[in-house]
């Protein structure tokens, strides 16, 4: 009750300081001094401080199960464990927007502290553009999605949190993802400021690259956490479904990856300026669209927990204003001073980075069109179509083949003008990759040609990056590690999809199921009850071909608030493969539907994503300019 009041008024105070901050910024912009007024920093801190207070108040309301707060009432329950009470704070629309606001204000504060060597006018303009976004979000939260709405009379009990959200990976997934999303707002504001100040330069590239890396790393890890969660909670062993909500997080990742590469060209060669600006604007727009598409409920998707179109309209208008603003600034202020530098030699690092961007933009267009087109078709022609994995696979996988080859060759090239000096070893590596994959693939699957080609290029990429990892001196280790992680990711995904095997059957307690010299034995079930759910835990014994026996205990949980039945898979993870068992109730029958899967190299998918992020992290801490 008290916490809600404090939270609400803190928000209003935060908005007040934002407006004050904007006013002071404009005033300070006109003053001819080299350093920005210290007041701006203090005001930015106050703005952040009150959003923090507001956020903490909401967390406290959740911890205390204060059901006079509508958000808490809708999303919490007294029997929920403390951890999920806290994570429930951002597991809903209102709270997640407050989190957006928190990160927005936090990032601009950090930006002000960390950009002291930058020109004053550029810093103030970045602050101002960021304030437009921040004030927009303040208004959005206060007008359409107030997390502190008061309920009277106070309900005795809350409605509870969707059980599939009560999960450790998903508890930290939104904050990490939002750090990535919101990081793009700084890139956006800074780009517009740099354009207006004609400051799109090598120095700017070096400085903004850190922010691109921050967003990119958090987004990468955020997507991975979502994927891990989907793997053991949602899907039956799948980890990427081309679900609209997943696509929406992948899109800014693609533009950020493109940006991360082209910003290096800007840093090194002072060219590709307009392209870098366009990518910055696009990344932020896509992050905003992500919030819009997910939160408006337009998407028919497993993830759409908060459906509210009226809020979508607000974001849509807000987004529209921001896009118009950035287009106007781009077309009226943007000047490219050194046009003569713009052409590249075919064999050069610049060209290889352009090729990377070319493919990234293609993948983006596939994902974007695939996600948005069905919505348009529905609105315009009232025709419903589904765009799912086959569409994305058909349009993306063939293009991966040249993409991997370019990616194998690109990092070996030098700036400006280069030649391929180790032709022979590359050709030998390529032939070895083909032969190796042919031998591995021929016994494993029926689609031999398809997989041989894919695995060959994946091996080629893997071997060339592996070679770089060992031969190059460590002057560019961040790039090599990220690329190595990527090649490992591709190989893991490929072999995972080729080698995964699965048994689906119906079983009664005490029965055995045998196949290919292996055996699944349904030993017994036991019942357990916890504060927020009752569960049936099944004991399975699995004997594999070598006679090795191990036990798996999948669970069926019956949550009480709200009443939802979920299946919890039991997964045994080893370095080589995951053993995955999940079971289901079959209505009106005494048997259970049992699915047992062996999924090779599962853990390597996560390890490779961590390696990719590690590469980014190393680049973040690198102190010198690009070589």
């Amino acid at each position: 009750m008290l916490a809600s009041q404090i939270g609400y008024y803190s928000l209003i105070l935060g908005l007040f300081f934002s407006i004050l901050l904007s006013g002071y910024s404009v005033k300070d912009f006109k003053i001819k001094s080299k350093v920005i007024n210290q007041n701006l920093l203090s005001l930015s801190f106050l703005q952040l401080f009150f959003v923090i207070i507001s956020f903490i108040s909401l967390i406290l309301s959740f911890i205390n199960s204060d059901f006079s707060n509508e958000t808490v009432f809708n999303n919490s329950h007294t029997t929920k464990p403390l951890f999920y009470k806290i994570s429930g704070t951002w597991g809903n629309h209102e709270g997640s927007l407050l989190l957006w606001l928190l990160v927005l204000t936090l990032f601009i504060f950090i930006f002000l502290i960390k950009s002291k060597e930058q020109p004053k006018k550029y810093r103030i303009l970045t602050l101002l553009f960021q304030q437009i976004i921040i004030i927009g979000f303040f208004l959005f939260v206060l007008m359409t999605s107030n997390p502190f709405n008061y309920l009277f009379p106070t309900p005795k009990e809350g409605l509870g949190l969707n059980p599939i959200l009560q999960d450790p990976a998903l508890a930290i997934h939104p904050p990490i993802l939002y750090l990535g999303y919101v990081g793009t707002s700084i890139i956006f504001s800074a780009s517009l400021a740099a354009v207006t100040q004609n400051y799109v330069s090598r120095e700017w590239a070096y400085h903004i690259k850190k922010w691109i890396l921050v967003s990119w790393i958090f987004l990468t890890i955020g997507i991975m956490l979502g994927s891990i969660w989907a793997y053991y909670e949602l899907g039956w062993g799948g980890f990427w479904f081309w679900d609209p909500v997943e696509n929406v997080s992948l899109m800014p990742w693609l533009t950020l990856t493109a940006l991360l590469h082209s910003i290096i060209v800007l840093e090194k060669r002072a060219t590709l300026k307009s392209w870098v600006i366009i990518l910055s604007i696009t990344s932020f727009t896509l992050s905003m669209c992500g919030t819009f598409l997910v939160r408006s409920g337009i998407l028919n998707s497993v993830h759409t927990f908060a459906n509210d179109p009226s809020r979508g309209v607000f974001i849509l208008i807000f987004l529209f204003i921001l896009i118009i603003l950035s287009l106007v600034i781009f077309f009226f202020y943007f000047k490219d001073n050194n046009k003569d530098l713009n052409n590249f030699f075919l064999l050069s690092k610049e060209t290889s980075i352009l090729i990377n961007n070319w493919f990234m933009m293609y993948f983006l267009s596939v994902v974007l069109i695939g996600t948005v087109y069905p919505i348009f078709l529905d609105v315009i022609a009232s025709e419903k179509i589904s765009v799912g994995p086959p569409f994305y696979h058909k349009l993306i996988i063939p293009f991966l083949i040249p993409f991997f080859i370019f990616m194998s060759l690109g990092p070996g090239l030098k700036w400006i003008k280069s030649k391929i000096d180790n032709k022979n070893s590359l050709i030998i590596t390529f032939i070895i990759s083909i032969i190796l994959s042919l031998f591995i693939i021929k016994n494993l699957t029926t689609e031999i040609l398809y997989y041989t080609v894919l695995v060959s290029v994946a091996f080629f990429l893997f071997f060339t990056t592996l070679k770089e990892l060992f031969t190059k001196k460590f002057n560019n280790s961040s790039q090599i590690i990220a690329h190595f992680g990527f090649s490992l990711l591709i190989l893991s995904i490929l072999f995972n999809s080729i080698l995964s095997s699965e048994i689906i059957t119906n079983m009664k307690i005490g029965k055995k199921y045998t196949y290919n010299n292996s055996e699944i034995f349904f030993k017994k079930i036991e019942e357990k009850s916890k504060s927020n759910f009752n569960s049936i835990i099944a004991h399975f014994e699995i004997k594999n071909e070598n006679g090795k026996i191990f036990e798996l205990k999948p669970e069926i949980r019956i949550y009480n608030q709200p009443v939802i039945i979920t299946s919890e898979a039991d997964i045994k993870t080893t370095l080589l493969e995951d053993k995955f068992l999940v079971m289901n109730l079959v209505k009106g029958n005494e048997y259970f539907n049992v699915r047992y899967q062996e999924k090779p190299f599962m853990i390597w998918i996560w390890i490779s994503v961590l390696l990719i992020s590690l590469g980014g992290l190393m680049s973040f801490f690198k102190k010198q300019y690009e070589k």
Partner: protein, 119 residues
Amino acid sequence: MKILRIFIILFLFLGFSHLKSDEKKDELKIKILKNIRCLICQGQSVYDSESEFAYTIKLIVDKKIDEGLEENSIYEFLREKYGDWIIYDPKLNKNTYILWVLPLLLFLLGGAIMYKKIK
């Protein structure tokens, strides 16, 4: 000639499949089920779902495979019965030309821009 011989041997190997017929059937069935949307669920495929609807569809697909229908004919059968919404693989027709072709056009456009940029 030696290389040719090696290639012929390799291709003979390629034609050889080690999977038994019922394993093949299971593989095909799973592949098909993953491409069918569970109409009453939120964004799940029939393969992922345990709903009664999914159960019915699974039986239908099983029957159709046993009748010897090709993968695409099964999709056609379901499309006619439930509409295009049910299959995750959108068919190329007047509704979906843009969907299929636009990304490819954009790729070509990107290529043209690249070509201009490179000496």
